[in-house]
Amino acid sequence: MADKTLSRRDFIKLGAVGAAVVAGSRMIRPAEASGSVEAGPHQWAMVIDQSKCTGCDYCTLACKAHNDVSPEVEWNHVQRVGTLDGKQIFLPRPCMQCAKAPCVDVCPVGASYYRPDGIVMMDYDRCIGCRYCEVACPYEARSFNWTAFEGENPAVPEWGQPEVERRPRGVVEKCAFCYQRIDRGLELGLTPGVDADATPACCVACPTGARLFGDLSDPESAVSKVLREHSSYRLRDDLGTGPRVYYLPADPKEMEVES
C-alpha cells in the first residue's frame, strides 16, 4: 500500500476517535470466546506499541525463520503509515486472530477454525485452496502458496530454526500466534508472554519491546495491565471482527524520550 503522510490535524482527529473509545478500552475486557467455541482457560492477545516500533523488520524475519515462511510471503507485514512531528510511524500487521473471523465463517471445508484460546488456526491438510478466505479477510493477513517453497530459507539460521512444517503449494497460509511455541511452552510449565521460549517469535525478536504478548484471562498479565493503563485501538474495529491484536497509538512525547 502506498505510503501516506498523516498531517498533524488528521492525527489529532485520530486521537479524538481514540479518546472516544478510551472509556471502553481502559476497562478490563472480559476474555471473549471466539465464534461459538467454548473459551479455554487462556485467551491470547498481542499488544503493539507504535511509539516503540522503529520498523526494523526483525519481527518479520524471525517469523519467516520460525514458521518457515517463503521469501515471497509475509505473515507479519510492517508498514509505514505516515509521519508524526517528522518521525516515521510504523504499523506491523500479524493475523488479528479475530474473535468473529470472516475467514472462519466463509471457509467451505472448515480448514480455518478457532482454538479455545482464541487462535485462528489453519488445517493445511484440509484447505482446498479456493481463496475465499483471502477475499473475505479485511486485513490482507492471508497468503496463497502460488508456488511451492523449495530450497533453503534465507532467514534460517540467522533468525531462528523452523518449528512447523512447510506448507505445500496450493493452500492459503497465515500467522497463528506461533501456537507451536505456546503449546510446547505450556507443556514445559512456561508462561507465554513472560518466557521467551513460550512467546511468539516476533515478540521475542523485537529489539525495542514494542510487541507484548499474554493472556487476557489473567488480569496480571502484561497485556492486561497495558490495556488497562493505556488507551488502545484495534484495526477496523467497526467491522465487528473482534481482533486479538491491540495497538497503542504513537505518542510523540514518548517517542522523543525514546530517541
Binding site: 500500500m1 502506498a2 501516506k4 498523516l6 488528521d10 492525527f11 482527529k13 485520530l14 476517535v17 508498514q79 503509515v81 504499523l91 500487521r93 470472516p102 472462519v104 465463517d105 466463509v106 471457509c107 467451505p108 471445508v109 472448515g110 480448514a111 484440509r126 484447505c127 482446498i128 485452496g129 479456493c130 481463496r131 475465499y132 483471502e134 477475499v135 473475505a136 479477510c137 479485511p138 486485513y139 490482507e140 492471508r142 497468503s143 496463497f144 502458496n145 502460488w146 508456488t147 511451492a148 505445500p168 503449494r169 496450493g170 493452500v171 492459503v172 485501538y233 484495526l235 477496523r236 467491522l239 465487528g240 495497538y247 497509538p249
Partner: protein
C-alpha cells in the same frame, strides 16, 4: 435475411466445426495439465485478486444453466406442459453448464486433489460450502433428468435396448426431480451472489440484493441461452426441429422478465449513488466511470438488458428470427458481463485497514494466456457436448419430445395421486 441465415451444415461443415472445437479442446487440455503440474503461478491471479477469468466462467456456466430448473419447474410443477420440449433442451444445457462449472472450479482451486473435501468436511456457515453441496446434488439431479435424453443415442438403443428403456423410464419421475431441482437451484443460484454479498470487508459487494440479482439474472440468461441455442441449431442442421411459436412465447416472457430485472438493477445502482462510503463509492465509480464502465453501460445495461427488452417486447422484432436470436444472445452476453464486472469490481478496490482515513487502493488484473486457453477449452467442451447432443441425441427436437410428453402425461396421472 432469413434464407441467407439458413446455412445447412454439410458433412464438411460439421467436420470443420468439430475440428475447430477440437483445437480449442486440445489447447485447453494442455493448458489445464500445465496448471495442474506447475500450479496457479501460471495465472495472473494474485493475493489481492485471487479470483478472475475462471470464476467468471464458473459463475456464468451456472447462471446460464438456470433454464433447466426454471423451465422444468414451469413444465412439471406449474403445469405449462407445452414447453416440455424446450425444458428438455434446457436440461441438457444445464448438464453441460454444471460440468463446465466443475471443470473450471477444478482448475481454479489450489488443491484439485482435494475437491471432495467440501462434501466430507462441512462448514455450514460457509456459503461456498452450501453452493458446493447444492451443485453436487443438483448435478446428480441433472444427470437423472438427462438419462431419458441420453437414451436417445442410437448405438445405445441398438446395443443395450433394456438399459435404454430403463433410462427413458426415469422421465416418469420428472416432477419429483423438478421439485429437487427447483429447491437446490434457488438455493445455490442466489447463494452464488451471497458469496460476494456477505463480505463486510468488501463494501461494494456487501448488500442483500446480490443474492436476488444473481438469481434473477440467472433465470433470464438461462432461458435466453436455451432459446438461442435451440434456434441456432434449427438454423444450421436438419437434425434440430423447433416449434417457433413456443420459442416466441418464451422469448416474450424473457422480454417482460427483463423489465423486472432492469427495475431491480436500477434501484441497486441508484441506492448506492447517495453519500460517500469508502470502498463502495470507488467500486461504483469503477463500473460507471472507470475501466469497467463500457462493460457496465453497454455490456450489462444497454446491450445486455435494455435493447433486448425492447426487441423482445416489440412483436415485429420478436417475430423476426434474426432480431429475436440477436436479442437472446445479447441477454446471455449481459449476464456474463454482469458476473465478470461483479467479481472484478469488488476485488480491484482494496480498502485499507489502517487507522484513520479509510484509504482505497486499486489492484489490477488481466488474465494470462494459460487462463485464456484453459478457459476457452472449458467453453469448447460445452459447445462440443451440445453439438454432439443435437446431432446424436435429438436434444433440440420439439416433435420427438412432444410424443414423449404425451405418454408421460398419462403415466403421471396414474401414479401421482397420493
Amino acid at each position: 435475411m432469413i434464407p441467407r441465415l439458413r446455412v445447412k451444415f454439410t458433412t464438411n461443415a460439421w467436420l470443420i466445426w468439430l475440428g475447430v472445437l477440437g483445437l480449442f479442446l486440445l489447447s485447453g487440455l494442455i493448458a489445464g495439465l500445465l496448471v495442474f503440474w506447475k500450479g496457479l503461478s501460471l495465472t495472473n491471479l494474485s493475493d489481492r485478486v485471487p479470483w478472475g477469468l475462471w470464476i467468471t466462467i464458473d459463475l456464468s456456466s451456472i447462471a446460464l444453466s438456470a433454464g433447466a430448473f426454471s423451465l422444468c419447474a414451469a413444465v412439471y410443477l406449474i403445469g405449462l406442459k407445452r414447453y416440455q420440449p424446450i425444458a428438455r433442451t434446457a436440461t441438457f444445457i444445464g448438464l453441460i453448464g454444471y460440468t463446465m462449472a466443475m471443470l473450471s472450479l477444478l482448475l481454479d482451486i489450489g488443491r484439485p486433489d482435494r475437491f471432495w473435501h467440501a462434501v466430507v468436511y462441512w462448514n455450514k456457515h460457509s456459503l461456498l460450502w452450501e453452493v458446493t453441496m447444492c451443485v453436487v446434488l443438483y448435478l446428480t439431479v441433472l444427470v437423472l433428468e438427462s438419462l431419458p435424453i441420453l437414451a436417445n443415442f442410437e448405438w445405445l438403443r441398438a446395443r443395450f435396448p433394456k438399459l435404454a428403456g430403463r433410462m427413458s423410464h426415469v422421465h416418469h419421475y420428472a416432477p419429483y426431480l423438478a421439485i429437487a431441482g427447483l429447491g437446490l437451484s434457488m438455493l445455490h443460484q442466489s447463494s452464488l451472489g451471497a458469496v460476494y454479498g456477505v463480505l463486510k470487508a468488501r463494501p461494494f459487494w456487501y448488500k442483500p440484493e446480490m443474492a436476488v440479482l444473481f438469481m434473477f439474472s440467472a433465470v433470464v440468461g438461462g432461458i435466453s441461452l436455451t432459446l438461442f441455442a435451440s434456434m441456432l441449431s434449427a438454423r444450421v442442421t436438419p437434425k434440430a426441429r423447433v416449434n417457433d411459436a413456443l420459442i416466441e412465447r418464451l422469448a416474450h416472457f424473457v422480454g417482460w422478465a427483463l423489465v423486472g430485472y432492469l427495475y431491480f438493477r436500477a434501484w441497486d445502482w441508484l441506492a448506492t449513488t447517495y453519500t460517500y462510503q469508502p470502498g463502495r463509492t470507488e467500486g461504483l465509480d469503477l463500473i460507471t466511470k472507470g475501466p469497467l464502465s463500457f462493460n457496465f453501460w453497454f455490456g450489462e445495461i444497454l446491450i445486455g438488458a435494455l435493447i433486448p427488452m425492447i426487441l423482445l417486447l416489440n412483436s415485429r422484432t420478436r417475430q423476426h428470427t434474426f432480431w429475436r436470436m440477436a436479442a437472446l444472445l445479447m441477454v446471455v452476453g449481459g449476464v456474463v458481463a454482469y458476473r465478470w464486472d461483479t467479481n472484478l469490481s469488488g476485488l480491484l478496490i482494496v480498502l485499507s485497514y489502517l487507522p484513520g482515513e479509510p484509504a482505497v487502493a486499486y489492484a489490477s488484473y488481466a488474465p494470462s494466456l494459460i487462463e485464456f486457453l484453459a478457459g476457452f477449452g472449458v467453453i469448447a467442451f460445452g459447445l462440443t457436448a451440445f453439438s454432439l447432443g443435437v446431432r446424436y441425441l435429438k436434444v433440440v427436437d420439439h416433435r420427438v419430445a412432444e410424443e414423449e410428453h404425451e405418454t408421460v402425461t398419462i403415466k403421471a396421472s396414474e401414479t401421482v395421486p397420493v
